[in-house]
């Protein structure tokens, strides 16, 4: 910062006289004092010589013990007072009353010398407490203080009356469902406002999904629809739209009052998103960051390079994250939408869910829109005229985007400082359709057979030289003992094994490998 840079260079110019023994000149007046000056000079030289011999700064110790004051406590870490320069000042400042004021050889102050500062000029010790590390009790207290301050900030600058957040999530049972759903669930658990989570599941409401969402502790409405999720991205998004409309129907029937947001299970939300949507009056939109990712990283890089070649002038596009969201003019009024540019991916996008290609978002993702749940009710006061009646919508027509719910899309409110803030991110990653995963991601009963991995994290040990065979012998003889341990290892959790391995020296791992295999084979033999 400017100050420290200034100060640092400022002090670089300080002369060497800062520490030189000729400092006595500056503080001494009159010719009669030259003898004293000479005396100090000689004394200083003597001390320097002694220090040279002894190896530490001897003069300091002497003066420390002679002139130590209350400000030097037992907690001192570094060297004691430096005597040369400030001794005289030391005298007047700290031992003011003891010395004869007339002996003060410098005209310090016009005021009386009895008024002395308790601050001493000169070298001080650097105080370090006995255990200079964080104290967990203090850390907890500090976090409570931070929480209190933030609560106060929220109450002052945030919304006065918070609305309930209604999260709508379409989902279905698949390998990555637990991954995605847990992510959304934890985000929703952190939301400081009232929350209702409406989960619509394709293929019927299953126990798997129910068990995941039961861990959340928030109010959930779990709805199932009978159709199964199709295998192509396009059909999937169509079904998701249908599922979302089902959820909105539920909101309408239950007369839930709040802000509806679409939390697709593979999206990532920032907490500021939930703060921002509290500001919506009827229908709002936010910017969504699009992380269009293909399974094949090389192809991605290639396409990036091609794009760079083609659009060297428009440098922004190749490096910035594509964002879907409202576009505003300079007076912060909505004039249109930014949508994802699908041209670079033409023909190379994923069609099937397990394709190794870029998965592209829709023109306008539902997750970028939020609406006041009163728009869905049959009768709500002050319902604006530019909203179509939700009850009379025919969903078989297919809704392209949430804007189809409105008659006049220009009345949409742009949120997040007119789309400048990206508050959530879209990413679609799915495993192969036929991939297997343990139900509920619980491995029960525990696996019995453990096979050493081909690649261990530690380097392969070269074969031992023949002289060391003697050492090996007792170990191989102690096969029984060694065999016993792997048995125990099998019962213990996986975490313990590498620890035990690392405790032994380098020779051991190879041995345990072989003994393990032999033990398992011996085990089989025993069973047989």
């Amino acid at each position: 910062m400017k100050l420290s840079a200034l100060h640092q260079s400022y002090l670089n110019r300080r002369s060497n006289s800062f520490r030189s023994p000729t400092s006595v000149d500056s503080s001494v007046d009159g010719s009669g004092k030259s003898l004293i000056a000479l005396f100090w000079l000689i004394l200083h030289c003597l001390c320097c010589l002694i220090s040279l011999l002894l190896g530490f700064r001897f003069s300091r110790l002497v003066f420390f013990f002679l002139f130590s004051t209350s400000s030097t406590t037992t907690n001192l870490y570094s060297a004691p007072f430096r005597p040369d320069l400030p001794v005289k000042h030391l005298d007047v400042h700290t031992l003011g009353r003891r010395l004869d004021p007339g002996a003060a050889t410098n005209n310090f102050t016009v005021a009386s010398t009895t008024k002395s500062s308790r601050v001493v000029v000169g070298r001080h010790g650097i105080r370090i407490r006995p255990w200079p590390h964080p104290n967990p009790v203090e850390v907890m207290k500090a976090h409570q203080i931070i929480e209190r301050v933030q609560k106060e900030q929220k109450s002052v600058f945030g919304v006065k009356r918070s609305k309930m957040v209604i999260a709508v999530t379409p989902t279905y049972v698949r390998t990555f469902q637990a991954l995605h759903l847990n992510g959304v669930m934890h985000s929703l658990m952190l939301v400081p406002y009232d929350l209702v989570w409406v989960i619509v599941e394709a293929g019927g409401a299953t126990n798997e999904t129910a068990s995941i969402i039961a861990k959340s502790g928030i109010r959930t409405i779990h709805v199932g629809i009978d159709q199964r999720m199709p295998n192509t991205w396009e059909d999937r998004s169509k079904l998701e739209v249908f599922m979302r409309l089902q959820a909105l129907r539920v909101v309408k029937e239950e007369k839930l009052d709040g802000v509806v947001m679409f939390a697709d299970d593979s999206n990532m939300h920032s907490m500021e998103f939930f703060d921002e949507i509290q500001n919506v009056k009827w229908f709002g939109t936010v910017s969504v960051g699009i992380l269009a990712h293909s399974g094949n990283a090389e192809e991605m890089v290639l396409s990036m390079d091609k794009r760079k070649e083609m659009e060297k002038e428009a440098e922004e596009e190749s490096s910035l994250l594509p964002v879907q969201g409202p576009a505003c003019n300079s007076t912060d009024q909505l004039v249109g939408w930014h949508i994802f540019n699908t041209l670079p991916y033409a023909g190379k996008s994923a069609v099937y869910i397990d394709d190794v290609a870029a998965v592209l978002p829709q023109k306008l993702e539902w997750s970028g829109f939020v609406l006041n749940s009163r728009l869905l009710w049959e009768e709500a006061e002050n319902k604006p005229e530019w909203v179509k009646d939700f009850g009379s919508l025919n969903e078989n027509e297919g809704l392209e985007s949430p804007l189809s719910l409105l008659k006049d899309p220009s009345m949409v409110e742009p949120l997040g400082s007119c789309g400048r803030q990206v508050l959530l991110w879209w990413l679609r990653v799915e495993a192969r359709a036929d991939s297997k995963f343990p139900p509920g991601w619980i491995i029960d009963p525990p696996l019995e057979i453990t096979v050493a991995a081909k690649r261990t994290p530690w380097p392969d040990v070269p074969p031992e030289p023949p002289t060391k065979k003697k050492d090996q012998m007792p170990l191989s003889q102690g096969d029984n003992t060694v065999v016993v341990i792997p048995k125990q290892q099998q019962h213990s959790t996986k975490i313990r094994k590498p620890k035990r391995r690392s405790k032994r020296n380098k020779h051991e791992p190879k041995l345990t490998d072989t003994t393990q295999v032999s033990s398992s084979s011996s085990k089989r033999q025993e069973r047989n």
């Binding site: 910062m1 100050l3 420290s4 840079a5 200034l6 100060h7 640092q8 260079s9 400022y10 002090l11 670089n12 110019r13 300080r14 800062f18 400092s23 500056s26 503080s27 400000s71 406590t73 870490y77 570094s78 060297a79 400030p86 000042h89 410098n106 005209n107 310090f108 016009v110 005021a111 008024k115 002395s116 500062s117 308790r118 601050v119 000029v121 000169g122 070298r123 001080h124 010790g125 650097i126 105080r127 370090i128 407490r129 200079p132 590390h133 964080p134 104290n135 203090e138 850390v139 500090a142 409570q144 203080i145 931070i146 209190r148 301050v149 933030q150 106060e152 900030q153 929220k154 600058f157």
Partner: protein, 416 residues
Amino acid sequence: MKLWSWVLIFIVCNLTFSTISAFRLSRSQPTERISGSAGDVLEDDPVGRLKVFVYELPSKYNKKILQKDPRCLNHMFAAEIYMQRFLLSSPVRTLNPEEADWFYVPVYTTCDLTPNGLPLPFKSPRMMRSAIQLIASNWPYWNRTEGADHFFVVPHDFGACFHYQEEKAIGRGILTLLQRATLVQTFGQRNHVCLKEGSITVPPYAPPQKMQSHLIPEKTPRSIFVYFRGLFYDVGNDPEGGYYARGARAAVWENFKDNPLFDISTEHPTTYYEDMQRAIFCLCPLGWAPWSPRLVEAVIFGCIPVIIADDIVLPFADAIPWEEIGVFVDEKDVPYLDTILTSIPPEVILRKQRLLANPSMKQAMLFPQPAQPGDAFHQVLNGLARKLPHEKSVYLRPGEKLLNWTAGPVADLKPW
């Protein structure tokens, strides 16, 4: 009966107004009224309470120096320049010295910069002396009071001691010719040679435009507990530590470098101002001198200043109740800083933040151009106005001489 009812109504009205003023709710954070030992004086208007006469010195004392090095306008000692500019166009200025209460001598003593941008104080005593000789010989007002109704702005490290090293500054003491004048300076330490009684302590200059341009929305949650950026050891001048900052900064580093609550380092981030606005406490330890612009920055950005400098006198100490706004930690208590800060009750912390949010508090720390009501210029004038009327002893009898014009080091007596 009628009288009683009127009295009752009067009392009730007074009570309601006083309670309303205690908690001003505005668009932004609720603030609290600030009242120091001088009363609620931050919003006082000095116009009409005093008259200042500005001496017209030859431009070699001010304009030419500035022309030689325009960097003086941006460094932390720029208060002397802006003070003159403010006074020249202020309504308190009078062109008639007979009716003036205070006399201002515009001499830029802190504008002799090294290539690095730091001021050298070696010529300053001579420059000051030469200026005083000029005004003493051309106008009768100096000799009338020997400078007791004159004021000077000396924003250097140790004020009018005109040296950057503390020992040498103490050795020199305040310039003899300024013994009776009022000094407006940034340095303040109780019972120190270089702070004379009756001085007005001002904050160091911090560029208001630059700070305003780095403001972030107030609703950004404050998530950093303690924040500090700066040197802990001055390796160039004090490699072993113990001299710089009297060992206090080094103690902060050694005790808290691995503490997650303390965001302290020597790096210079580009988001320095933004980070301060996300912190609850900002450390303001002493360096080579006890004052620093960090205090100003902490106040502007709403971060509670933690002042680690024994016996320091903070700006406008009679108008601003610093004890209620900041946290004072003795240098010997630095190893226990985390305990001290976490043991402050949350209500006290919230109150300090409310006091800091008071716009008059922030205004009082700034030197904006053009001047705005309640800013540091006006606080200086308020301070001068509070010292009026001058005592009788200020005016000397004819022929009486109190100052010794030949005192001080021989080198200072050379003409400039």
